[in-house]
């Protein structure tokens, strides 16, 4: 087994383990926002705790993929590269943002999941990541103006009230900011991102009873 595949295997088990611990913990406490708030016995968690937990898993996966998979491939000058059009390209894997979005789409398909999540940015390279509601716009502005803080709020969409958490999405790996800064879709007012800059937000939305 090559070093590269061993590394990827370790990463996989580490992420899977972390996910299992968090999901398991949430399950034991009757997680799912409505259950959490309606349960009268046993430990409960708030929507914010739930959002913080799933966000921790998401960001762990995302950071590992960006840092140890995508960046590693670049360092090794592998023929396999992360490419926006990976489905139609040879030797290509999804970009970190695409991997993140595909995961969100799988959660979207799971009606029992009890939450949705998405990437949002004030400078989206993909229009799908634009802020869609007034609260989302406000949240993106807040996390940029208040480095290190998360945004929490509530909004009504359709006939449902949602708890919304938005976490700063930082440039964690060089592959992130170099690719973004050099992307052909970037506008003239696009910031020159550097390490740890807030490039956007990770949004978690939980329906409230």
């Amino acid at each position: 087994m090559s070093f590269q595949s061993m590394t990827i295997q370790r990463i996989f088990f580490a992420v899977a383990g972390l996910s299992a611990v968090i999901v398991g913990t949430l399950s034991m406490t009757g997680c799912g926002s409505s259950e959490a708030s309606s349960s009268s016995s046993g430990p409960t968690i708030t929507p914010q705790q739930f959002a913080d937990g799933v966000h921790a898993v998401m960001m762990a996966d995302r950071t590992v993929y960006a840092t140890h998979v995508v960046t590693n491939l670049k360092k090794q000058e592998s023929v396999v590269t992360a490419d926006e059009y990976w489905q139609d390209s040879d030797d290509a894997i999804p970009l970190p943002a695409q991997m993140f979005r595909m995961g969100a789409e799988l959660v979207d398909e799971n009606k029992e999941a009890g939450f949705t999540y998405a990437l949002r940015s004030s400078w989206p390279l993909n229009e799908q990541h634009q802020a869609k509601t007034d609260l989302e716009k406000k949240a993106l502005q807040y996390i940029v103006e208040n480095p290190g803080d998360n945004f929490y709020g509530e909004e009504v969409l359709g006939d449902t009230n949602y708890f919304v958490a938005v976490y700063p999405d930082r440039a964690v790996a060089e592959a992130c900011w170099t690719c973004h800064n050099d992307h052909p879709n970037r506008g003239d007012d696009y910031p020159e991102f550097e390490k740890d800059d807030v490039m956007g937000g990770v949004l978690v939305r939980i329906p409230l009873p």
Partner: protein, 475 residues
């Protein structure tokens, strides 16, 4: 209304008529779905895509144990997916229902419920049914994408119902139309230098299972037609070890496999001249499954008798009206003549302008040249080339027998078929011209769809800006 007086002759006639009407209606209600009498319950003409199975109401409607009537409210969403999900997955559906689970779309869904197939595709409303079974006005894109010109200046001023024009966008399948694909294939020649179709070997017609089921059984052919035996002994079935009983007594073959003998005598299973699709499917699984998803096999897929040519809405030859659609319709029982299956079998039934124009087309001329050995294999174009394209999956190849899979809509054909030989822009131009389709593409397209050029310009602008940034950054 004045009712007839009891015991009068008029009353007797009135009673008989009412009882007859009630009898027919009752019979139609409980009759098998193969019964034409059920048609009296159809609320309106069904679409081109579903009329073959229109009498199998329960395929789409979930009535309450048969006690309530089929109506628009009990159409099952999964009934649509049961037949169309595979094709939607293959098409990498641009608007899957799950895309709209994100709560931010809640208000948009109130305008157009994009999670229900029925929002755009209703049945039995022929008076407002457009191509592809669309039953809402063509401006449906506008509801969500009315601000498209903000990010795509080139779209400024375009008509709000022009998005799904051939060569621009499809709601479901954009594999040949998404912007990067258009840009990558910009500037291609009308006819590619390496124009060649996927080659298919006879071994690839049957799945690996063919080899596994090969036995050493000597068929009992003492009373068989010598001509049939001659044909079989020079066929691919013979070469693959598929003998008479494997198709005509498949149950006996199973018994043989279990008992380890080399004769079918004594097993007592009936010989059947008619080979069922399920028997063919034993070795030709993908061909059979795709056949069942197309118009030729869709009736069999829902348990109805085979499609008969006379049922077709397209113009068909009158002398073929009695024919039924099964594997043997195109593949003669004992002769594996795929050339016949690729053209002659089609023209044996189809009698529309497009089909009739084929033999005079340049595509047909290439096919004739290939058959006579004047050009390499894979250069000739048959009916099957376009309508039953060969599919390469890794090292494997098979013929997709769902002839509708590349017609929903027509530009679906571009990537899997046309682009084997033609450039993208030429292909899109050709399929965008309905007149050209009528005449089976007997001349190069004269109109130009602008999508390829627009996508290329869009990427060119970005490439220039990127280069400019790099230059200013290095100074």
């Amino acid at each position: 209304m004045k009712l007839p007086v009891p015991a009068s002759p008029k009353f007797a006639v009135w009673m008989v008529m009412n009882m007859a009407i009630a009898g027919v209606a009752t019979y139609a209600l409980v009759a098998p779905s193969t019964t034409v009498a059920r048609r009296i319950f159809l609320p309106g003409e069904t679409t081109h895509g579903h009329y073959q199975i229109e009498l199998a109401c329960n395929q789409c409607h979930q009535t309450n144990g048969g006690n309530d009537e089929s109506n628009a409210s009990n159409v099952m969403q999964d009934a649509c997916l049961r037949c169309h999900e595979t094709d939607l997955d293959t098409a990498n559906d641009t608007h899957p229902a799950s895309k709209f689970n994100d709560p931010v779309h809640a208000d948009l869904l109130k305008t157009l419920d994009a999670q229900s197939c029925l929002s755009c595709h209703r049945e039995h409303v022929a008076e407002r049914t457009l191509a592809m079974g669309l039953t809402i006005p063509r401006d449906y894109c506008w509801h969500c994408h009315q601000d498209v010109a903000e990010s795509r200046v080139s779209h400024e001023g375009m008509r709000y119902d022009s998005c799904a024009t051939t060569g621009c966008h499809n709601y479901h399948d954009n594999r040949a139309l998404y912007e990067k694909y258009l840009d990558e294939h910009h500037g291609e020649a009308d006819i590619l230098d390496d124009a060649t179709l996927i080659l298919l070997t006879s071994q690839q017609n049957g799945d690996d299972q063919t080899q596994e089921t090969q036995t050493q059984v000597v068929p009992d052919i003492s009373d068989a037609d010598p001509q049939i035996v001659r044909q079989w002994s020079s066929s691919a079935h013979f070469a693959a070890g598929v003998n008479c009983t494997q198709c005509h007594q498949p149950e006996a073959e199973d018994s043989l496999a279990n008992h380890g003998t080399t004769t079918t005598a004594g097993f007592g299973t009936a010989w059947n001249d008619h080979v069922a699709l399920d028997t063919c499917r034993h070795c030709h699984a993908r061909q059979s499954e795709t056949f069942l998803r197309g118009k030729h096999g869709m009736r069999l897929a829902v348990g109805l008798p085979e499609m008969q040519v006379a049922m077709a809405r397209l113009p068909m030859r009158s002398d073929a009206a009695h024919r039924q659609l099964n594997c043997n319709s195109c593949h003669a029982a004992h002769v594996d003549d795929v050339q016949y299956a690729a053209v002659d079998a089609c023209l044996g039934c189809h009698n529309d302008d497009h089909s009739l124009a084929y033999l005079d087309s340049s595509h047909a001329e290439l096919w004739r040249q290939e058959r006579s050995g004047d050009i390499d294999a894979g250069r000739g174009v048959t009916c099957a080339t376009c309508h039953m394209p060969r599919v390469a999956t890794g090292d494997d190849t098979f013929v997709n027998h769902n002839q509708n899979s590349v017609l929903r809509p027509v530009e679906t054909m571009v990537r899997d078929v046309c682009q084997r030989c033609h450039g993208l822009e030429f292909s899109l131009n050709a399929v965008a011209d309905p007149e050209l389709a009528q005449t089976c593409f007997d001349r190069p397209p004269e109109q130009t769809v602008t999508s390829v050029e627009m996508a290329h310009e869009w990427f060119e602008q970005r490439r220039k800006r990127q280069q400019s940034r790099k230059r200013s950054g290095s100074r």
